[in-house]
Amino acid sequence: MRVVIAEDSVLLREGLTAMLPRFGIEVAAAVGDAPALLAAVHEHRPDLVVTDVRMPPNHTDEGLRAAVSLRAEDPRLPVVALSQYVQHSYAGELLASGSGRSIGYLLKDRIGDVAEFAGHLRRVADGATVIDPEVVRQLMQRRRDPLRQLTAREREVLSLIAQGHSNAATARILSLTEAGVAKHIGNLLTKLNLPLSDDTNRRVLAVLAYLRSRSD
């Protein structure tokens, strides 16, 4: 698997370049700004793009703009955006690009858990949607009223599937059987009037769309 990295902090860029090969991820190019990212992607045709949201010259959302325009060219290009803060508007814009699949929105905090981070990158490259737990926590806060009817366990399950975990991964994290997880998912989707679906990805997007919609 080959990635192109865009990150303006040299320290972090070199750290990622050194770390990812340990997990069998080849770094095709590591660049420091948005125009270089676009050029590198066109040149190397990577399996995944990892980009910082903020980059020079204005340090606002150059990385995100570049990611959105790359997704406009190729809606299936997997992209992981790294951000220092939760910014719902930016996360939403990225999710709206292409089919919503093969998208990752992660806080930079997650890079520290190196093995898990590499796992997230692989899953996005394989077509999954991965959303930072902090983003999901804040989204669930926003829809607190309707979520009150869920049991505590169902809320845990909802949070995990919104982050993009499969039934198997959810079962492992919560120490449940996969059948148990499937039952919880069925119950909570019914309570929230969401379509029942076995397709993990379609479910993630439905749950995210539900959480992101205005509560009133």
């Binding site: 972090l12 050194a18 803060y85 890079i111 190196v114 804040q138 989204l139």
Partner: protein, 413 residues
């Protein structure tokens, strides 16, 4: 620029706006206020009038002594009550002035009662209300009677078989007088209100304006400094911390899980991650990027999402001047934090709306109330920032709630 009745009269769409009604309401309440004022003034004036009547009636020494006593009582009462009544009238009239247009925030108390120029300006206004007010109100009343009596008068002319021209003139004149009356009412009311504004709101002297300017510069300097600190923390400290956490993560991969070093590294890893989250919160408090990049609504929505309370947000998406956005955001952030800490509230409503050249921010929680605005230095600092920007911060928190924080900032539309 403030919008007033007198200014509204000059506009072409005056008659189809709400201003004629406001002018009417202002004039009608002026009549009421003048009447009430004379009722109150009757107390000190009665002895004076009685003295004058006595003097007129006879010139014997007995009459003179009683008249002098009554006169002294009247003058004493007037000197004692006059300024107090004038100040009370001034307060009530400032409140009523809102009918006739925008008003600046009320002046604070200054000086002793008899030496404060504000007292004597209030007395001057009282004379204006009591003497000049009835004059223009009387004139308006006559025009009003002409308008109101039109149908009766026309009917009368028909019954006595007046000429068609006479009847038409009276009917047409009556109809034409309606807009004239509306204009006259607004004009007289507006002029009265303008005089009231001059007398009841002290002019800011040159010196005060200069002080306000220097305060504004100070606030700008603080804002610039915050921005620089935020940028440094983000560009240097945060990136290094992420790289450090990543290096620790890498090192942990190579340590045998059972070794003592592995346990220590795990703790170090956790601490670095906690520090990263704390640093992020710190930076958000200093100068939120979402606010600068996406504006007040997005930033407040993010505050609401991060809060553990149920926060309803009603904010227009339009961008505002950076300084106004920064103060409004800081006030909302502080109010939400206070609601979490003290109010035991479960639900908070944040409303931001623009009205007549001002931005009005309201944060309301249905919690226990009883908050003391003087205690938290956060609110005091905010009040200073709002004042430096030419606005003000108000708070109401009666025991039992609700707690309402109101910030008004000048904001040209």
């Amino acid at each position: 620029m403030t919008d007033t009745l007198l200014r509204a009269v000059t506009r072409r769409q005056f008659l189809v706006s709400a201003w004629p009604w406001r002018g009417f309401a202002y004039s009608a309440t002026t009549a009421l206020a003048a009447g009430l004022l004379w009722l109150v003034l009757a107390v000190p004036l009665t002895p004076l009038v009685s003295a004058a009547v006595l003097l007129h009636a006879g010139r014997t020494s007995g009459y003179l002594i009683v008249a002098a006593c009554l006169g002294l009582i009247g003058v004493g009462l007037l000197a004692l009550l006059g300024p107090q009544v004038a100040l009370a009238v001034a307060r009530a009239e400032r409140w009523r002035l809102r009918l006739a247009g925008d008003t600046p925030p009320p002046p604070g108390p200054r000086g002793a009662l008899y030496t404060d120029p504000a007292t004597w300006r209030a007395v001057a206004y009282m004379v204006l209300l009591g003497v000049v007010g009835p004059l223009w109100l009387g004139a308006l009343g006559i025009v009003g009677l002409l308008v109101v009596s039109t149908p009766v008068s026309v009917q009368h002319r028909i019954s006595v078989a007046d000429s068609l021209l006479g009847i038409g003139t009276r009917a047409g004149g009556g109809l034409l007088l309606i807009p004239a009356l509306l204009y006259l009412t607004a004009l007289c009311g507006g002029a009265h209100a303008a005089l009231a504004r001059m007398l009841l709101y002290p002019e800011r002297s040159e010196e005060l304006i200069e002080v306000a300017r220097s305060r504004t510069r100070l606030v700008h300097a603080f804002d610039a400094e915050r921005l620089r600190i935020e940028r440094d923390l983000h560009d240097i400290a945060q990136q290094r911390l992420v790289a450090l956490t990543m290096q620790i993560g890498m090192a942990r991969l190579d340590l045998p899980p059972s070794s003592p070093a592995a346990a220590a590294m795990a703790v170090a890893h956790e601490q670095a991650k906690t520090l990263m989250a704390e640093l992020r919160n710190l930076i958000r408090g200093i100068s939120p990027r979402t606010l600068r990049e996406l504006g007040l609504r997005a930033a407040v929505e993010e505050l609401a999402a991060a809060s553990c309370l149920e926060v309803r947000v009603d904010v227009a998406s339009a961008r505002l001047p950076a300084e106004v956005e920064a103060i409004a955001y800081a006030a909302i952030s502080e109010a939400l934090a206070n609601a979490v800490k003290h109010a035991a509230a479960s639900e908070v409503t944040v409303t931001v709306r623009r009205a007549a050249g001002r931005l009005v921010v309201e944060v309301r929680d249905e919690g226990g109330g009883g908050a003391d605005p003087g205690r938290g230095s956060g609110l005091t600092g905010l009040a200073d920032r709002a004042a430096a920007a030419g606005g003000r911060l108000l708070m109401s928190s009666p025991p039992g709630g609700p707690t309402v924080l109101l910030v008004e900032l000048p904001c040209a539309s």
